[in-house]
Symmetry: C2
């Protein structure tokens, strides 16, 4: 069985589950660190494991461009290429292609676009992105979708979703004869689109559910719409998705977004925020956010978070981290990334415990207040 | 006893020894990775330990500028600030100050210079650099010296060395009442200068030996003179230094320079080459140098060096490393740095074994031929 729905919290839609892949199990809800170019930026595989990462994400568009799917196939797939032996999910590349705006042109069969690296011309179809993901060898693959921009008018959203559903149908059929190149199984998820229109979202979800995918993504959110609208649309979508299949909210988000979306029935998340913000010097903790470069941390001999058990918090002070950022030292980026990934995984692990205990709702309110605050410095020694 | 001279190779001047500090022992000959700004660039302290680093170097000039010696004192010294609990050596800052050229002015008491960061004016004296190193809390400190540029005329070299000896005498006297701020002992080395003039080098060494330092550095080499001249001057200098004191050749060098200098009686080395070259994509191995970015490694599924036991070589291929460099991923810089530091420490450890076995001379010739060659790619799988 690919997914086991273990428990739903008594007072929210929050779920605890278990995904089973040939590279190991994943306890849900889960956050997936983003490894765009065959590396989660600044981290080694050992550090990801130490941070409790259970599954990471690879970006099909970027890997297709560089180093190319054929080269990765030569190396025995993405797991072997980057030496990551746990589960891996790849997106379809659609999101990146549609983000190119001026550089792409859509037709009923696929999308033509120009590389952001060298301007060369490429064509993605439901079949071609499946073939690329086959060579990458991810445990979970995505169908090609069009992520409608925000805001979109009803007409655009309707047509776009119709195309996305057509492409999903085509991919689902192709999957029937999909071969696993490296011995391990690959699962294919459908992606619910429909922009901000509930009826189109409903239609999208229902069509995809008919195609019987092993899991469903919710796409086209976190693209600029107000947070409340994102939460409401997520809540709306999960009502149309089967309980016995995992739900993945693509590209989300801040710690508060993850908590709110878990409460609305989402099981899986990915986002560049913990890694990108770490490189910009912002870290997240159970007591709130901190901008490590701030002068207020110059004399601070406390760890980022005295309750955190990550390598960074067990070994280094805020004052030292501030120095590393000030001096443009790579170790600073690494240590902050280790902490942020560890924190995101701590957050979903805690969420799961509280779901299983039926205490999720009250815990969520408490932790929300904390994670959305700002940490002040303490100049006293720990 | 600070230094124990254990053995001299039967057919060269190569020595095996042991340095004892309050932060642990150091087996010589030793290479010291450079941690300019309170971090060996890209590496964590755990990775340095895994790479068998026994002692690292901190740069007094850079640390004095940023974050400042007072801040480091507040944090309990450089060991605690950066979480490195093994031995540490600091230079005097002189080399960096004299490299500023246009920005500095020398007088008999010290040197006035302008910060490379903000142009602010500063003054270093033999007493002030000792005070800075006292706050840093390094296990081994250096006296303030003037590193004469290459080429220097005899008159300049003579005057410069006279000043360096005067400053060494002043520092040596100050050291008599030097207090250890953090409980552990600090040792002070004198620095032999004299540019390329043997008689001035001899005079310098003899004057310093009279002052009875626990160890002696050889400075002012590897500043642009031909390699053969560097080897010859090193060989010349060590003849005037006592056998029962360690000798440190500052800022050297390439693997071949280290081997040639060990053969000429040097015990300690530091250089940015393994770390800086790693960040530029060049790695050193027992079979020669490799430029990882080279297209020839694109399909290469071998590790950098199949005989190497570092984390990088045990887990990643040349083809993957090439991809990381091509994609500007920080992990590439890290993995190459891990390998290079591990290689440099492997090299001095092997040298020590062969010194103790009296087989250093023949081993040196064999390994020299290997390390100075270039590794070709092998497209076959390992």
């Amino acid at each position: 069985m690919f997914f086991k729905h273990i428990h739903t919290d008594k007072s929210t839609k929050a779920r605890a589950g278990l995904i089973q892949t040939d590279h190991g199990a994943i306890e849900t809800p889960i956050f997936m660190p983003v490894g765009t170019q065959a590396t989660v930026k600044t981290l080694s595989p050992d550090e990801l494991t130490a941070a409790q990462a259970q599954i990471i994400l690879g970006n099909t568009y970027h890997l297709y461009m560089r180093p190319g799917a054929d080269l990765i196939e030569e190396f025995g797939g993405l797991h072997r290429f980057m030496n990551w032996n746990k589960p891996m999910l790849t997106d379809s590349g659609g999101y990146q292609v549609f983000s190119l705006k001026e550089l792409r042109k859509i037709d009923p069969k696929g999308v033509t676009f120009h590389s952001h690296l060298d301007g060369s011309k490429h064509y993605f179809t439901p079949a071609s992105v499946l073939a690329v993901q086959q060579k990458l060898g991810s445990d979970i693959m995505m169908v090609l979708d069009e992520c409608a921009p925000y805001p979109s008018n009803r007409e655009y959203a309707q047509a776009s979703n119709q195309l996305t559903v057509e492409w999903a149908r085509e991919a689902r059929e192709l999957y029937e004869s999909h071969e696993f190149l490296y011995g391990h199984k690959q699962f294919l998820f459908g992606i619910v689109q429909g922009s901000t229109f509930k009826d189109i979202r409903e239609q999208s979800a229902k069509e995809l559910v008919k195609l019987d995918f092993p899991g469903y993504s919710i796409g086209g959110l976190a693209v600029g719409e107000p947070k409340e609208e994102m939460y409401e649309l997520t809540d709306f979508c999960t009502d149309f998705l089967p309980a016995e299949k995992p739900r993945y909210l693509m590209g989300v988000g801040m710690p508060e977004d993850i908590l709110e979306s878990i409460a609305r029935g989402v099981d899986m998340f990915d986002c560049v925020i913990p890694t990108r913000n770490a490189r910009n010097g912002t870290v997240f903790t159970s007591k709130g956010k901190m901008v490590l470069k701030a002068a207020k941390f110059k004399h601070d001999q406390n760890p980022i978070d005295s309750d955190c058990t990550c390598y960074t918090c067990k070994n280094f002070t805020r004052g030292y981290l501030r120095h590393l950022y000030n001096a443009n030292e790579i170790l600073g980026l690494r240590l902050a990334t280790i902490h942020n990934i560890h924190f995101y995984l701590w957050l979903v692990t805690e969420a799961r415990k509280h779901i299983l205990d039926n205490t999720f709702a009250t815990w969520k309110e408490e932790i929300l207040e904390q994670v959305t605050s700002t940490v002040e410095s303490s100049n006293t020694k720990p």
